[in-house]
Symmetry: C2
Subunit: 385 residues, 2 copies
């Protein structure tokens, strides 16, 4: 065989599922490791292994007979990835890149070392150390490792804000003035070629701290768009190992761009590429894993993405508003196949494509008004559509 | 639950696989029945049942606990579908529609009864009857039932052309003068609403009698395109039951349109809709099964589809030319996941999307030059890319 075929994916969540959805048409084998036997990839993987992706030996055993190892979550055992690289396997992202990005402190130091603009910060061991950095306040206090989706972050103006049990070491980061938050995905091919998608503009839900609505391209001056794309490429090239790099950045009121953080994997801010681009973020990963050429990132028209976040408690998920969404042209529902919904849990998203920003914004409003994922009503209960 | 969820699909080939690929993002359950445990849908279905879809009791048992029954091949047991309709299940296409389309004779009579233009024909019992229909010669002699993909058809100028063992009853059909062959997919929703995709132009491989390259929209006068769309809609509405209708038609040198045959299911001539349209032929089916609104058939730019047909004998399939295909922007590889390739077997297709017909035709030429599915070279053999 002249090309690698079996791909091992660490993590079996929605990112893995959307990866497999695209990979299916190429008929490649995807093996998935996840602790949850009901995870979105479980029945869709060619081979599913229940186990911890943060456990060294489990990862080594899982990836023993594959050609390529990828991740769909950062919290994997990086020593195991390093060992797999030494065995000659293709690991994307590289263990070196991942080691830096797993630690918010190392990540910030990396940006500074490479002249990549980022908010001022200090690395501290414990809450009382905040008082020695008055110049950074008000700030965000972040645990250096293990944080995810808004977990592991508290806003602080003094050490009194730190809840009990919120333990360091920490990254203390000056709160930037934010005009907009952008997500820009850069692609670095194994042959050194690179591409960058149109920047997406993220709108946060202040209550759930989740991306709620996203617009692509971002509503910014062309000059800002160009700078954002260059900055994302600079970040990717600074890491230097093949992969896709989702670079979250802040645009300040002074039109300055600051890198917030980077994920070396597919990302929520790139879901719009599934329908809006010839080669999606998931397709780029597959091409890399397989040694195929980097794909086309060109985009026609405008795209919006609305996250579907669980509401109304726990239970089997049910999407309300399907008809209202599907009546509009150019709408695409993605449900992640999670067995249980919970308030605040990412359950799916809707992508909307249009030639006009006005139509797009109207469709987003309809989607926000009607679409929600709630626990399935019990059989026989009265159902209001 | 306020909407049907479990879909039973009779047949587990590539049409079923592409249906599931799209259905995955909606998180619906698809159950598949096929005699081949290695068929393209086998490991992808929520539940796969090995069994014959042309066996009455097998179909009834298989569909006992689902809400909707669909087909991806016509040769299914129509009495079983009728019984399932009587049980109150949604069956698409209806048993009445399928009963007519399973028999090329009933199908032709149906066209004539509904004033739908079609080539002159006679229904005959055996080969010697050909001599009584000199006015139809030269003709095609087709077995009324069971034919598929060019099987069950012989060109005849007299009864002497009929091979031994080629048994009737037959449809004897006058050979039309053909300027072009078009495939037009009409969509008939459960609420009576209808849509029709852009007509595709099919180019046949004379040796394999398989669609080889397809262009959409077809290269015809706008007036012809409009007539072709109207004709496809007329066919769908004549049948009247919800479903998608792939209407193959001939354009004669006199610009007349003649309906050749209709498939009440997804069709090769509609594969281009996966990438070129917001709602593909597979998405329309899912929407119908689920009771959701009919989707948008609008198309931007031009599309081409190149069938990937097995060459060079039997074995595990291997696609040559992947890099050459993927280097071009807007190309999409689809491999159907068949365990074995054989000379002449449909193994996949490549869709190409472009804003310009010139670029499209160049990309088709490159694809035809490089892409082929061959048996996998044995390990260690010298491989030429």
């Amino acid at each position: 065989m002249d090309e690698p075929r079996r791909i091992a994916l660490l993590g079996g969540g929605q990112l893995g599922r959307m990866f497999i959805e695209n990979a299916l048409r190429y008929d490649v084998e995807v093996h998935v490791l996840d602790p949850d036997p009901a995870c979105p990839c479980a029945w869709l993987a060619h081979r599913f292994t229940q186990g911890r992706f943060d456990d060294h030996d489990t990862v080594l055993r899982f990836a023993a007979d594959v050609d390529v190892v990828g991740i769909e979550i950062e919290h994997v055992n990086v020593e195991a990835l390093e060992a797999l690289e030494h065995q000659g396997k293709l690991v994307i992202p590289s263990s070196t890149t991942l080691r830096i990005l797993q630690d918010k402190g190392l990540q910030k130091d990396f940006y500074v070392r490479h002249g990549i603009p980022t908010a001022a910060y200090a690395l501290i061991e414990s809450a009382p150390d905040i008082e020695r950095h008055q110049e950074l306040l008000p700030a965000f206090l972040k645990t250096r490792t293990g944080g995810y989706d808004g977990k592991g972050v508290v806003p602080v103006t003094s050490s009194a804000n730190v809840p009990a049990g919120f333990d360091g070491p920490f990254l203390l980061e000056k709160r930037a003035d934010i005009a907009k938050e952008l997500g820009v995905i850069a692609v670095l091919g194994a042959d050194g070629s690179s591409r960058v998608y149109e920047p997406a503009e993220m709108v946060f839900d202040p209550e759930l701290n989740l991306v709620d609505v996203l617009l692509a391209p971002a509503r910014c001056e062309p000059e800002v768009i160009e700078r954002a794309k260059e900055l994302a490429l600079r970040v990717a090239k600074a890491f230097g190992s093949p992969g896709i790099y989702a670079v979250e950045m802040f645009l300040t009121p002074e039109n300055e761009l600051l890198v917030n953080e980077t994920a070396p994997r597919a990302h929520n801010s790139g879901h719009y590429t599934i329908e809006a681009c010839a080669s999606s973020q998931f397709d780029q990963l597959l091409r890399m894993y397989m040694g195929w050429p980097v794909g086309d990132v060109g985009m026609q028209g405008e795209a919006a993405m609305v996250n579907l976040v669980g509401e109304g408690g726990s239970g089997m998920p049910h999407l309300v508003g399907t008809e209202e969404i599907l009546e509009m042209p150019g709408t695409f529902i993605h449900l992640y196949g999670k067995a249980q919904t919970r308030t605040g849990r990412k359950m799916g998203h809707v992508t909307i494509i249009s030639g006009s920003r006005n139509k797009l914004e109207r469709a987003v409003a309809i989607c926000k008004a009607y679409a929600k994922v709630v626990p399935m009503p019990s059989p026989g209960a009265h159902i209001t559509k």
